[in-house]
Subunit: 459 residues, 2 copies
Amino acid sequence: MQQYLKEIHEQNEKFMDKEIELKGWIRNHRKQKEFGFIDFYDGTCFKSIQVVYDNKLKNFDSIQKLKNGSAIQVLGKLIKSVGSGQEYEISATDVVLIGDCPDDYPMQPKRHTREFLREQAYLRPRVNLFQAVFRVRSIAAHAIHTYFQENGYLYVHTPLITKNDGEGAGEMFQVTTLDLDRIAKSGKVDYDKDFYGAKVGLTVTGQLEGETFAMAFNKIYTFGPTFRAENSNTKTHASEFWMIEPEIAFCDINGLMDIEEDMLKFIIKYVLEHAKDEMEFLDKFVENGLIEKLKDVLGKTATRISHKDAIDILQKAETEFEYKPVQGEDIAKEHEKYLTTYFNGPVFLTDWPKDIKAFYMKLNPDNKTVAAVDLLVPGAGELMGGSQREENYDKLIARMDELKMGKEGLDWYINLRKFGGCPHSGFGMGFERLLIYLTGVDNIRDVIPYPRTPRSAEY
Amino acid sequence: MQQYLKEIHEQNEKFMDKEIELKGWIRNHRKQKEFGFIDFYDGTCFKSIQVVYDNKLKNFDSIQKLKNGSAIQVLGKLIKSVGSGQEYEISATDVVLIGDCPDDYPMQPKRHTREFLREQAYLRPRVNLFQAVFRVRSIAAHAIHTYFQENGYLYVHTPLITKNDGEGAGEMFQVTTLDLDRIAKSGKVDYDKDFYGAKVGLTVTGQLEGETFAMAFNKIYTFGPTFRAENSNTKTHASEFWMIEPEIAFCDINGLMDIEEDMLKFIIKYVLEHAKDEMEFLDKFVENGLIEKLKDVLGKTATRISHKDAIDILQKAETEFEYKPVQGEDIAKEHEKYLTTYFNGPVFLTDWPKDIKAFYMKLNPDNKTVAAVDLLVPGAGELMGGSQREENYDKLIARMDELKMGKEGLDWYINLRKFGGCPHSGFGMGFERLLIYLTGVDNIRDVIPYPRTPRSAEY
């Protein structure tokens, strides 16, 4: 009966001295005259295992010919290892080739640059770094679902194709079934002939639709893809990424901060527990002190400070900032970093100037700031952005008018304030931003299976 | 301290005779001269609760004015109910208005047609039917994640924007940042100026990318949105829907069927356990016998029969079919129904004629059929479609040539057969199809929060 390597590692005492059968791949094959060592993995866990065979095996010669990258079946016995470097290994009774691999296999066991691996995006999941990163991605996703489901939140799939542009902030991709060549030929754009009979695009946020569900289910969250047609070629921008957007009825900005902090701690704990080997690898080879950085957050309570007070602190700082901190204005990455260092832990920045925040945020009594909050974390800066929403119908309308926003297509959103509206709050967390924080990998292209960036949509 | 209604119902004995505080909405308000009854819900669970108040309360008059749909805070004591219809209720000490609701609130407590509710898609989550459906949707999604994560599968986010058209089957939406009006004016389409520097569209399947991850992580699954620009206005077609596509290395078609059956049973058990009230409501008001239908599947082993043998059975049937069953051809809905009735349970239909299936499916030794399998379930027909994939490089190329398929852009997919390829299998399950089956709701528009169909992309 076939086993998975994960079982073998997890219950190695149970399997000790037993016959086992594994199917997987050769990461590295070292051959000597009378025996050989196969570094074997099957993808079910991070750790590989050493398979030892010798020339007493009847097909010793053909086993010796097995190449790196090949798919194989291993039959043998789990034994205590006499060599150093591992506690136990497999003493093979047979190794059978399932799928061959040529000598020019690009994923040879040596150091590859991240750039090279990106070009081989369909093969890179096989190397250690991406075995770790994508396992953490999967486990972190489940941590998020588990947190919200266990706390009674409803998971909502908000639409991706939409007529509305969310915050009006992000640039949108257009989605169409019109034939562009025909448009060029005819000189006419007829949206009536388009699939939806209208101009539509890919969503930049599920928040507005999410609010409609919070007004029915109390606590909801979204977890789905989001798009930005921003022509930014930076380490932190992708045009297609996943977002988590919880929304909670009868919850003010303080309750929201409690939830953000509680969720973050849950995710960190869950990932450290469920991806132990992966996190140790990342700590060792990607970001020294990664685990310590994350564990440190668990023991702390995030500081809560207003945008105004934060700017005061920044202005008094002896650090030379590239961008001068100014009251009423946004803060830069370097400022975020200063603040998390200053408070030695995560920081909630509250009460932002209304002019640099979105229309739906609740106006504070000072009429100048809104009940918005950004969560800054050590080492990564802004991780979540949220706000209490303006639940007052008249005030929302007034703010939209002030911003000269069109209301067509948003009547339903505004109506939420008319039909049993209530104080409610929500936040957004970019899933890839979380992963950059959790894995220490600093380029968003390396935490997405097949990243989409300007001029790049391979696979 | 505020409680959630879910806690109150789940631990009503603990809360009995205790002061409680709830925030939520009025579903129905019945007023009498000296007292009143509020049918109160807060969205955290399916069951509402009766709030009783009388004229001894100092703001009796203002409470009496509260309208259906309003958001309120209820303070009171949980007591055994003297009236019939409920075991316990809340004896209010105060009811405070949080958010008013006008008399023309569309969700009055009366029977609404599904069509009317669809037009009010942002309010319909508040009515019983959609409280049940969308809770089941959320719970079923988590059941799926839980099943795969507990069984060691890796969750993969495959890309949505893509250059390749997957199976070549579905019609694709185009995604662009080109200005259509400018194209009309200039008479030129210049993809070099498009965001990705190429013509791209929305994915019809994540399978091909999923396979690349199965070759690294062994067992993987996708769970994400998928798109079809099909101009079909039927009860089962939406242009945006969610798909689950697991892919398993070293797994043949028989192993695949085991997994499909195991997963289905897990989901059914999970939903019946975690959405008890919702399922009872759906059983009572949407599909009589729904729970029985699902429980029945749990106790059965699905029949496994070849397409050829199934056609034989259909041809011998005494039923008058609208479409005559023909060897070598596809089967119709009525045939699926006949087969699940004939075998009195779920049926795996295997070994399909190669000409009606996709290029990547493994050719059987007869050279005529492929190792494809559809799972048919009683009451809903086809629920999953899967196959063992052609892992042989030469055979895959030959099949693509036979179908005159272009290979550009698919080199990576083909290369999987060169670099340590192995037998592997996978299936796809439309999430909404599963929900139609689980809830008994027969229109896909009613199991998606904001459905996208031809000429309709509201919200």
